[in-house]
Amino acid sequence: MDPQRKRKIRLIVALGVAVLLAVALIYTSFSASTEAKEPSQLLTAAPGTSYDMTGKVVKGSVRHQGEELRFRVVDREGGGESLPVTYSGTVPDPFRGGREIVLTGEMENGTFVGERDTLVTKCPSKFTTSSNDS
């Protein structure tokens, strides 16, 4: 086989493998991802499906009940009905009322039940004042 041809075949094989891997990656990413929803959308969401909830903790709604944390969230843009949330597991340091959070979980009887240790609190913005959102 002449070297030119050999190189071409090698290139095609390499590209083929790369394309296959890329397709696998793309395929799994769509099935492995969890849909992000805002609290107002979750109020009507079907139970049993896992969602990433992104919302804002209602100020003054945070209650500790033993190991469980109960609070309410609203859409990030504010407004709309608030959604009750229960969660247990680690609470990041910046968590508090008024903060934006991301939590994975599912709906159960009108309450969003967070998966253990999935609570992410957005880092306190260095650009907002810390005294006005207590």
Partner: protein
């Protein structure tokens, strides 16, 4: 907007940078005077931006709250060290930092190339100054991000303060490190663009900027490491990496930068991969800009997305210009970039570099896809979906394992070609060592339960032993030639071949770091337990006892801690994790005690670090009781001031003081101080009752095997990078002109290649026949370069163009 000296200096810096662009473009055809003007304009702009930074720092240091930036990010109570570092916690401050660091890096690059690369430099200057004027202009024109913006008079007496979470030593160095890394990649990018425009696409631009790429890479890597460390010790979470978009944004240019640092060696030594290198540096720089953009834009859900920003769209525009412009440029220069050279053998260092490049690019592409998946899925399916850490782990783990294998294989192979016999000889010891480690792990540990981690350990053992063998053989070869002790021979080979052995040390560090990551992520024990004082739990064979609660309070924070005793047999130690609840600053005395628990909080974890295991503990006190007490105290205070029947006599005095203060503003500070004092006393009582009550506390306890090696590995890599960056001794003869300097550099590079081959031969990496062939090739190439050098010497340096053509001409078969 008031015209302060700082504002004026910033405007002047912007104009000077624009002037540098214009002058550089006027000097593009070799008019030395314009080139000189442009270079000096960059120096001047660097001076002006330094002046701006100094002014802002003085404003922070002297609590000048008439500046918006100072009022919003500092306060009287902010510790001095953090006052100076508060500049880059603001958006305008970080833009200033970007522009300032870029002006320094550009000045250094222009100074070091003042006698070199005469054709490329004007265009490179235009690119660097263009990007600097973009960032300087952003501060002036984007609105709301001018660091010299003043607040309307009268100036506030105190500022809001720096977020306590950010008041951590590593947090203060972390942002400037990352920014410096992002910024320094501008230099190789600018010279690459210059080389493409002028079609001077040999390795000269790479030689001139390689060190900047390495510095950028080192800064970025160290910044990432500091961020991980901060997360591990400060966030009360126990992890160091979360695949957060902004973390990924810093990791991606670092990965592509790693690929670039390897593949440019192939271009330097073999003249291949020119298109690839041009693409890599464009990608690295674009990803660095993307990192800056992601931090500032909030398009992706990230714990780092710092609110809405006005500069996001502009940076996105710049990325688009960079990508489109570079692509057009590369495509139009494809004919010049192509090279007829081919890889001699698949068993050679350049072949391994290509594999490592593909792995790094694949890793980056995977992370890119995962990071931007929310946008991608929204585009295709209409719903925003995101990918979590397990998805990232699934794809990055195998790639990382292969990479660690290649960090071991690469150093074992010589350039150009290696015969199978030689390859076998250098592979024997590392392979046996890796096999031995594998068997030992399988027999004595449960590493086989986690196959990925097991493979990583085995491959890392291969890499470590392989690189150790390299050092050993190199030193032995030197001893054979020069004698001396093993230690002095080691020092000699490292200091004489800094790039090579510095690089190997980086490989050692990366292998050690990955061992730390694999062990701590696969074999960690993590438990959350609720304990009352006196109770204990058994975690990973250790008895953990909650001895007693502690509490401390001052004007700034309420600190609830827990004393833990950890026992296992004879070994016993205590840990004291605490959690600080910060009161919002800037309004002393005006807020109640309950505000302690409405503000920020952070953790000081209890950590017993060890070579084999870290014992990590954080407490999450149940603050419901505390909040209840604080609220009651605040209510009592309010009642006290209102007066009426049954209130103690002291209430009447404080009530009188407050009423007086309301009527007479001049008495207010006194009254506030009184209240403050009273609140502090009450808070101290609450602290005492917290200790006395001994409420149950939730503890997170993590036993992390080998995690210390992650930090040690990072530091080893840093040391290796510094060795590789350290400048080599220069030849004493100073070259006369730019053309001669280029040839001189070429000669130096070829000599180094010959020395490398000799070292490889002496160390047994090249067989006698392979070495003879390679040496002959290299010497022939060196002679051709020398012909060029001598030719120049006799011609003088009047006829620039033909001189520079000399080496190319002489490469033609004679």
């Amino acid at each position: 907007m008031t015209a302060s000296p700082g504002f004026f200096a910033l405007v002047l810096a912007f104009l000077t940078m624009v002037a540098a662009v214009v002058a550089a473009l006027l000097g593009r055809n070799g008019d030395e005077r314009w080139v000189l003007v442009s270079r000096r304009a960059v120096y001047a702009a660097c001076g002006l931006l330094t002046f701006c930074v100094v002014l802002i720092e003085i404003a922070f240091a002297t609590d000048n709250f008439s500046y918006k930036i100072v009022q919003e990010h500092s306060s009287i109570e902010t510790p001095n060290f953090y006052k100076l570092a508060a500049m880059w916690s603001s958006q305008e401050g970080s833009l200033l930092l970007w522009a300032w660091v870029l002006s320094i890096a550009s000045s250094l690059a222009l100074y070091s190339t003042r006698n070199k690369l005469r054709e490329i430099v004007p265009y490179a200057t235009a690119v660097m100054a263009g990007i600097a004027s973009f960032f300087t202009g952003l501060m002036l024109f984007a609105g709301g991000v001018n660091p010299f913006d003043k607040l309307p008079a009268p100036a506030p007496t105190d500022g809001i303060g720096l977020n306590p979470l950010l008041q951590h030593p590593s947090m203060m160095i972390h942002p400037p490190m990352l920014y410096s890394g992002y910024v320094a990649f501008t230099i190789p990018f600018a010279f690459a663009i210059g080389a493409l425009i002028t079609r001077k696409i040999d390795a000269s631009w790479i030689r001139a900027t390689r060190r900047f790429a390495l510095i950028a890479w080192t800064f970025l890597g160290f910044g990432l490491l500091l961020g991980a460390r901060w997360s591990y010790t400060e966030l009360g979470w126990g992890g160091y990496w979360a695949w957060d978009p902004v973390e990924n944004a810093a990791l991606m240019p670092w990965l592509i930068g790693t690929a670039f640092l390897h593949s440019i060696m192939v271009q330097e030594k073999r003249g291949m991969l020119k298109v690839w290198n041009a693409c890599l540096i464009v990608a690295t720089f674009s990803l660095a800009l993307l990192g800056t953009f992601l931090v500032r834009s909030g398009v992706l859900q990230s714990i780092h997305a710092f609110g809405d920003s006005t500069v996001g769209p502009y940076i996105l525009g710049l990325i688009a210009v960079v990508l489109v412009g570079s692509t057009v440029l590369i495509v139009s220069r494809l004919d010049d970039l192509r090279t007829p050279k081919r890889i001699d053998s698949l068993v050679s260092r350049e072949a391994v570099f290509i594999v490592n490049n593909l792995l790094l690019v694949a890793l980056c592409a995977t992370i890119f896809w995962g990071t931007f998946f929310p946008l991608i899925s929204e585009f295709f399916t209409g719903t925003k979906s995101s990918l979590a850490a397990p998805w990232f782990d699934r794809y990055t783990t195998p790639l990382a394992i292969l990479l660690v294998l290649f960090t071991g294989i690469g150093p074992l192979l010589a350039w150009r070609r290696v015969s199978w016999a030689t390859a076998k000889r250098v592979f024997v010891v590392p392979t046996i060592a890796a096999a031995a480690v594998g068997v030992a792990l399988a027999l004595f540990t449960d590493a086989l339960h986690k196959p990925w981690a097991f493979f990583l350990f085995v491959f890392a053992a291969f890499a470590l032993v392989g690189i150790g063998q390299e050092f050993w053989r190199g030193a032995a070869a030197r001893r054979k030639l020069r004698g001396g002790s093993m230690g002095s021979a080691l020092i000699a080979i490292v200091s004489r071949n800094r790039r090579r052995y510095g690089g190997y040390i980086v490989h050692v560090g990366v292998a050690v770091l990955l061992i730390g990551i694999a062990a701590s992520s696969s074999f960690q024990t993590k438990r959350d337990v609720d304990l009352r004082p006196g109770q204990s739990a058994v975690i990973d064979g250790r008895k953990v006892t909650y001895v007693r609660p502690t509490a401390k309070v001052d004007k700034l924070a309420f600190t609830a801690g827990a004393l833990l005793r950890v026992q296992k047999g004879e070994e016993s130690f205590t840990l004291h994790p605490t959690r600080n609840f910060y009161r919002p600053t800037g309004v002393p005395g005006a807020s109640g005690i309950a505000n302690y628990f409405a503000g920020e909080s952070d953790s000081n974890i209890g950590l017993k670090a060890g070579i084999a295991k870290d014992f990590w503990a954080a407490n999450q006190p149940n603050i419901a009781g505390l909040q209840h007490h604080a609220k009651a105290a605040d209510e009592g205070f309010a009642k006290c001031i209102r007066g009426g029947a049954g209130v103690p006599p002291q209430c009447r005095t404080i009530g009188a003081v407050m009423r007086a203060a309301l009527a007479n503003p001049r008495l207010r500070p006194q009254a506030l101080a009184r209240i403050e004092e009273l609140q502090l006393k009450t808070a101290e009582q609450i602290a005492a009752s917290y200790v006395a009550e001994g409420a149950p506390t939730t503890f997170r306890v993590i036993v992390n095997p080998l995690v210390t090696w992650m930090w040690i590995g990072g530091l080893i890599s840093l040391a290796g990078a510094l060795i590789a960056i350290w400048p080599a001794r220069r030849s004493r003869r100073t070259p006369v002109g730019a053309a001669e300097a280029e040839l001189e550099a070429l000669k130096e590079a070829k000599y180094r290649e010959i020395r490398d081959a000799e070292l490889d031969h002496a160390a047994g990496k090249l067989s006698d026949e392979d070495f003879a062939l390679l040496d002959a090739e290299l010497r022939k190439e060196a002679v051709e370069i020398l012909d060029g050098v001598n030719g120049n010497g006799s011609n003088g340096h009047a006829n620039g163009a033909s001189e520079r053509d000399a080496p190319e001409r002489s490469t033609e078969p004679v």
